[in-house]
């Protein structure tokens, strides 16, 4: 889900008076794009949904078209509105928007959160929402004061003209009666006048999240709501032959046992009874075609595939001939395993179905798809399906599946049981539930010229496609190449600098559901490309930073972060004995990142002490959130680099919970320093692009320290 090019789409505004008073500013974006058309949903042309609402008591309500899952959009999007509105920041209140076409992503056409796109995709729309409201409030005030709009200024939630002042709440009713200003007359602030954008701003969701009041999907409770736990297929694709539920029904609190497409659901008064009931089920499964899946065997197959010609993802010159004439060649195989997202909040979804309405409460990244899927199951129209987006206890991509898996099975359970039901996944269910970061094998051969610089590069990537076989295929697969399989490699600036190169792709079908996992393809391509370049520098006996500078000489923003990270980390300066540094630089999700990791090794255990990060993400809307996201990305990347691995044997996932799928803990967390490049360029992403450079920076540091090259995640050093 790489960001599409900056989109300037004409926005159509509608305003209206609120029942009970106040001003609503809404947007309707016509033509909701390919994805929406693929869904049964027919986007209405002019539905007045509010992005912004000003109440008589001065409260400014901001509705989020994106889901808060930790990334801080609950604060960043209101900052955009407040900036242009000249709002009193203490009056801002935030809510997730309902599911409706008006909240479709400005570039992707459906209501969703992903691809590190929330800030850049709303930079225009939310600022314009604030600016339009401000213009109307000024006009209302001018009429009241008997002056012209040009005589008025605004600040701290008030319109001011000389000695006269009116609070926005006082003006809301008058403003709501005004016609909508011509969008051409709405002028956004000059960046030099920004008071909020660019200022480190604390999160608005903290008070709820430190007192236990914040409501996640898991926390949805209302009278009559029951809880379901599902016995799901032990092997992907397995189906229920028969089941005996007598022991399950005997568990006190169990109300119903119903069969659904994903398995057998036990519905009970509370989670514990549902889980005991589920565990007491005896299900006879037809294991289907995937009962022999074995990840070791698949790895052997992937390696064989890597020797065969694949779909061409990038090509220039004649790498074969150039390779034959190379002074030196570096050849290597890299490997990364399947990974679970493992968000702290296991999947869940609450559903209540009525005769003409289906209500859903869940933490989701994909409202439009969820709505369409629920409509399909219930026989209702998408607009009859309401979605209340709750706080997400982490997403990392897992709550964004084309099939809306966790919403679909909850709707099936509620329908079959004839009751309002919250379906809760145990941690084991969540970890066994598929939609993993795919396993990938890379094989590369790079030829160096007499100057030590690469002039031939042959690279084959083998791993499952995320998009093929889903509704995203037509959008994301071109000439047999899923862009998410090769992003970060096929478009690498290193390759651009190599006259003769070729990147090929094999996308084997395995029966294991796979998905985007925080940074998607970059989670493996950056590891491979940045490790390989380090291998080349070593082969050429050149300093890794200096070597990268030579390759990236025409890439100013790569160079900017590379040099900044190297400088701040003290690259080239002595370290205490037993420590070494490694560097990586990578562009993804419209942002540039470089990281320097400082490591030591004790009896084969890698310890990361410090990670110095330089980021160029264009305009830094909320520097505090950017720092937090970079810290977060380092932790997430280290979890994969040091620990993460899912394996299959006899069709079954062998890991089940945090004891055998460990993730980074506090005692392993390095110091993280974040340096943000000052920039007036349009904003880039921040949730994901900090993840890819972590693993290669650590691997390169371990090489510098030990001479051992780590080509497989998670990293293992013998003794």
């Amino acid at each position: 889900m790489n960001p599409l090019p900056w989109l300037s789409r004409r926005e159509f505004l509608q305003t209206g008076a609120l029942v009970g008073g106040g001003l609503v500013i809404g947007f309707v974006v016509p033509g909701a794009g390919r994805l929406a058309q693929a869904q049964a949903a027919a986007p209405g042309p002019f539905i007045p949904n509010a992005f912004l609402q000003i109440d008589r008591d001065d409260t400014v309500r901001v509705l989020l078209a994106h889901s808060e899952m930790g990334q801080g959009i609950w604060t960043a999007l209101p900052m955009l509105i407040a900036e242009e509105l000249d709002a009193d920041w203490s009056k801002i209140r935030v809510e997730h928007a309902p599911a409706a076409p008006a909240y479709a992503h400005t570039a992707f056409g459906v209501q969703m959160t992903g691809g590190s796109s929330s800030t850049w995709s709303e930079f225009e729309r939310y600022r314009r929402a604030g600016a339009t409201a401000r213009a109307m409030l000024v006009q209302a005030a001018a009429a009241r004061f008997g002056v012209t709009a040009g005589d008025c200024r605004t600040g701290d939630g008030q319109v001011i003209c000389g000695e006269k002042r009116a609070r926005y709440g006082e003006l809301a009713d008058d403003a709501a009666k005004l016609p909508l200003p011509d969008p051409a007359n709405i002028v956004l602030k000059d960046p030099k006048d920004w008071k909020i954008i660019g200022k480190p701003t604390k999160r608005l969701d903290t008070p709820e999240k430190i007192t236990g009041r914040a409501r996640f999907g898991m926390d949805v409770q209302f009278a009559g709501l029951k809880t379901a736990v599902i016995a799901r297929a032990p092997v992907f694709g397995a189906t229920v032959k028969s089941f005996d539920d007598s022991a399950a029904r005997a568990v006190p609190g169990v109300l119903k046992v119903v069969q659904v497409p994903s398995g057998v659901a036990v519905v009970a008064e509370h989670f514990w009874a549902a889980k005991l009931g589920r565990d007491a089920l005896s299900v006879d499964w037809d294991l289907g075609p995937n009962a022999a899946l074995d990840s070791d065997a698949m790895r052997v197959q992937f390696r064989q595939l890597a020797e065969k010609p694949g779909a061409v993802a990038a090509q220039a010159g004649d790498p074969k001939t150039a390779m034959a004439g190379a002074a030196k060649a570096v050849e290597a195989e890299y490997f990364v395993p399947y990974l679970a997202h493992a968000p702290m909040e296991p999947l869940n979804c609450a559903v209540r179905i009525g005769p003409d309405r289906c209500e859903i409460w869940t933490g989701t990244q994909f409202q439009t798809m969820d709505q369409g899927v629920a409509a399909g199951i219930t026989g209702l129209k998408p607009e009859q399906v309401s979605i209340q987006t709750m706080f997400l206890g982490g997403g990392f991509g897992r709550r964004a599946t084309a099939a809306s898996d966790f919403v679909a099975d909850a709707v099936h359970v509620a329908k079959a049981a004839g009751l309002p039901v919250k379906t809760v996944w145990t941690r084991e269910d969540d970890m066994h539930g598929g939609y993993y970061r795919p396993m990938y094998l890379h094989r590369a051969r790079v030829g160096l010229g007499a100057d030590g610089m690469p002039d031939a590069w042959e690279h084959t990537i083998v791993g499952q496609s995320i998009a093929m076989g889903t509704s995203f295929e037509s959008m994301m697969v071109r000439n047999g190449v899923d862009e998410t399989s090769v992003e970060g490699a096929a478009n690498s600036p290193y390759l651009k600098s190599v006259e003769n190169h070729r990147v090929e792709l094999h996308s084997p079908v395995t029966g294991i559901p796979v998905l985007w996992w925080r940074s998607v393809g970059n989670s493996h391509t950056a590891f491979v490309m940045e490790s390989l370049v380090d291998e080349l520098a070593a082969a050429a006996a050149r300093d890794p930073v200096e070597y990268r500078r030579a390759l990236l000489k025409n890439e100013p923003r790569h160079l900017g972060v590379l040099n900044l990270a190297a400088e701040k980390a003290g690259w080239g300066q002595p370290l205490p004995a037993g420590r070494a540094r490694g560097i990586a630089v990578h562009f993804s999700f419209a942002s540039w990142f470089a990281q320097v990791a400082e490591v030591s090794v004790n009896q084969g255990a890698i310890r990361v002490h410090r990670v110095v990060c330089a980021v160029d993400c264009g305009v830094a809307v909320n520097p505090e959130a950017i720092r937090a996201q970079v810290e977060s990305a380092v932790a997430f990347g280290l979890s994969a680099a040091l620990h993460g691995k899912l394996t299959f044997k006899d069709g079954r996932v062998q890991q089940s919970n945090f004891h055998d799928f460990p993730v980074l803990r506090l005692s392993e967390m390095p110091d993280v320093e974040v340096h943000i490049v000052s920039s007036s360029e349009k904003p880039g992403g921040i949730g994901e692009p900090g993840v890819p450079p972590v693993a290669p920076a650590v691997a390169n540091a371990v090489f510098a320290l030990t001479g051992k090259r780590l080509r497989e995640m998670p990293f293992r050093l013998a003794g």
Partner: protein, 151 residues
């Protein structure tokens, strides 16, 4: 059976082996305490039993006895506990799901140890997983909370 939670006596009809976590959440309707793993590996369910940090997901309700249960809701509902104040000051939370457990572990630590070292914090807090990686801020905020509590 009787259960003393946040200073209030409750009568709950729960099977004896039902984990305290689900009694708190599903029978008492207090959802601040979270389910993350069910096997005491992640710490999201941390509550205090007579002040001691305890993983409620593996604690049978019958084992609580007459000890007082303190949950995040009972710590300070206005967020005025030193740990909560430090958490707000340092902008610790991200998704927030693990934070009730983090805060309860930290509160127990500074009650026991007025000036914890980094090593003390590593030991006391490493049973609490945060997938968002708020660890650097948690470490700093525990120091800050301890300082606030000492005042």
């Amino acid at each position: 059976m009787k259960l003393l939670v946040n200073g209030k006596q409750h009568e709950v009809a729960a099977p004896p082996d039902m984990p305290l976590l689900w009694v708190i959440r599903d029978l008492l309707g207090m959802t601040g305490t979270k389910y993350g793993c069910g096997i005491a590996q992640c710490g999201a369910c941390t509550v205090h039993l007579d002040g001691a940090p305890t993983r409620s997901c593996i604690t049978p309700v019958s084992a609580v006895g007459d000890r007082e249960v303190l949950t995040i809701e009972g710590l300070d509902e206005k967020g005025g506990h030193p740990v909560q104040r430090a958490w707000a000051e340092l902008d610790v939370v991200q998704c927030g799901y693990c934070q009730s457990g983090q805060i309860m572990s930290a509160a127990a630590l500074i009650a026991r140890m007025p000036k914890p070292s980094d090593t003390d914090i590593d030991q006391a807090m490493s049973g609490n997983i945060c997938r968002c990686g708020t660890y650097p801020r948690i470490r700093a905020a525990v120091h800050r909370a301890a300082a606030l509590a000492r005042r």
